[in-house]
């Protein structure tokens, strides 16, 4: 055996021995460190290669990305429009469901739902315009409600629309009674849209939170429709009556759909009222 073949044999034996030891798990920590260095190096090269590849192929991708981006933006705007539309439908459905619940819980009345389409152009007056009119059997004087309470009454009617005087209108006066103390009073509207209570007897103790309902007196409204709750009371000894401010049950700034009570006919009691003596 010459020296070259001896050298080769020794190298094979050494390498084979190292492999055998390695496979036998004797070089565990050293092989882990080695492989970890290898992985780091490979990761570095791989990431640089991907970066370089992106750089080289960028122009083509930007065009396709822009196209894709435009498509996605278009889809997003369409979906946003759909979301808004669906939210509106959900709101309408919630309102209608509440109104249906209200009509079911008050089966003595018949109702006609109407959408609020406008308000009086003058800031002095608190009126709304609804999209139901005489073609839907809406008549002047019919009460208008929501599931929360009384809204007002029909003031004028045309074929497909009607004007409703809100109970917040300065010219509005509704006969009411305070449920807890069982006494009558009158609810007046105002310029600001607030409702105040007047004509409360001085003998009655009114408290904040007392519920106010329509009394039905005068024939203008059916009885037991909710108006609101007493907030503050003003009682002065030298005045004939007490006054109170009301928190209305209805949010008049957000009226969207209302119910017209179509089976109620207001009673005109004017001929029965005594004439003023000369």
């Amino acid at each position: 055996m010459n020296s070259r073949s001896l050298q080769t044999t020794i190298i094979f034996l050494v390498v084979g021995g190292i492999l055998a030891l390695s496979l036998g798990g004797f070089f565990g920590s050293a092989s882990r460190q080695f492989s970890s260095i290898l992985i780091d190096v490979q990761t570095w090269f791989s990431s640089r290669f991907i970066g370089l590849q992106d750089f080289i192929t960028a122009p083509r991708d930007i065009v396709s990305l822009r196209t894709r981006n435009a498509e996605l933006e278009s889809q997003v705007s369409q979906l946003q429009a759909q979301v808004i539309e669906l939210q509106q439908r959900v709101n309408e459905t919630e309102i209608l469901a509440a109104l249906v619940d209200f009509s079911r819980s008050n089966p003595e009345s018949t109702y006609k739902a109407a959408a609020v389409i406008g308000r009086d152009p003058s800031p002095f007056l608190h009126y709304i315009i609804i999209n139901r009119g005489s073609n839907d059997d809406i008549r002047r004087g019919m009460p208008v409600v929501t599931n929360q309470g009384l809204v007002g009454r029909i003031d004028a009617v045309i074929a497909d629309a009607a004007r409703v005087q809100l109970i917040t209108d300065p010219a509005s006066a509704v006969n009411v009674y305070l449920q807890n103390v069982e006494t009558s009073a009158v609810a007046f509207g105002s310029v600001t849209g607030d409702i105040s209570l007047d004509m409360i007897s001085q003998n009655i103790t009114v408290e904040s939170g007392d519920l106010i309902l329509t009394s039905g007196l005068g024939g203008g409204f059916p009885s037991d429709l909710i108006i609101g709750q007493v907030v503050t009371i003003r009682s002065l000894e030298f005045e004939l009556f007490q006054q109170a401010t009301i928190q209305p049950a209805v949010d008049f700034s957000r009226l969207e759909i209302v119910l017209v009570i179509t089976n109620f006919r207001p009673v005109d009691i004017a001929p029965l009222e005594p004439l003023p003596s000369p």
Partner: protein, 166 residues
């Protein structure tokens, strides 16, 4: 012939007033778009149809509003009168004229509304009306008067082209 634009334009203005502007409140007041458009229209030198436009607005507002029609009629016609009077005197400062007409017109219409509604039995307090309705409405009218004036000036140039005017 182009004056026919008054029908859709003023109809749209009244619809916008009822559906949108009346819900954009400052305290309890809001802007009066038909008033602004009429004032700006009447202040245009070449316009000859301001009274017709005012009559149309009176009919439309009188139809949908619960305000007694004499208030609407007298109010808007008075605005045209004031605008045309001022237009002849301060024609070199159209925006100043616009502000003046809006100021006088808003105060006059609100005063007239207040008096008539009081006579008819609506319990208003004068201080409440001034503080809660008139002053906020006046402010909003003033704010909107500049864009509305620009719009109506361009419209007047289209309705009354210079060749036809001369």
């Amino acid at each position: 012939m182009r004056n026919i634009i008054a029908f859709p334009l003023l109809g749209l203005a009244v619809i916008l007033q009822s559906a949108i502007i009346s819900q954009v409140k400052l305290i309890s007041g809001y802007a009066d778009l038909p008033l602004l458009m009429l004032a700006a229209w009447a202040l245009q030198e070449r316009v000859k149809s301001a009274w017709h436009w005012a009559a149309l607005v009176c009919v439309m507002i009188g139809f949908i509003s619960s305000m007694p029609w004499p208030v609407v009629t007298i109010g808007y016609l008075a605005v045209i009168f004031v605008a045309q009077t001022l237009q002849k005197r301060v024609w070199q400062a159209p925006l100043l004229a616009m502000f003046s007409v809006i100021f006088i017109g808003t105060l006059f219409i609100h005063l007239l509304s207040f008096v008539v509604l009081r006579v008819l039995g609506t319990p208003f307090a004068f201080a409440d009306v001034i503080g809660l309705i008139t002053l906020p409405s006046l402010l909003l009218n003033m704010l909107f008067s500049i864009p509305v004036y620009s719009l109506m000036r361009d419209l007047a140039r289209w309705v009354y082209p210079l060749e036809e005017h001369e």
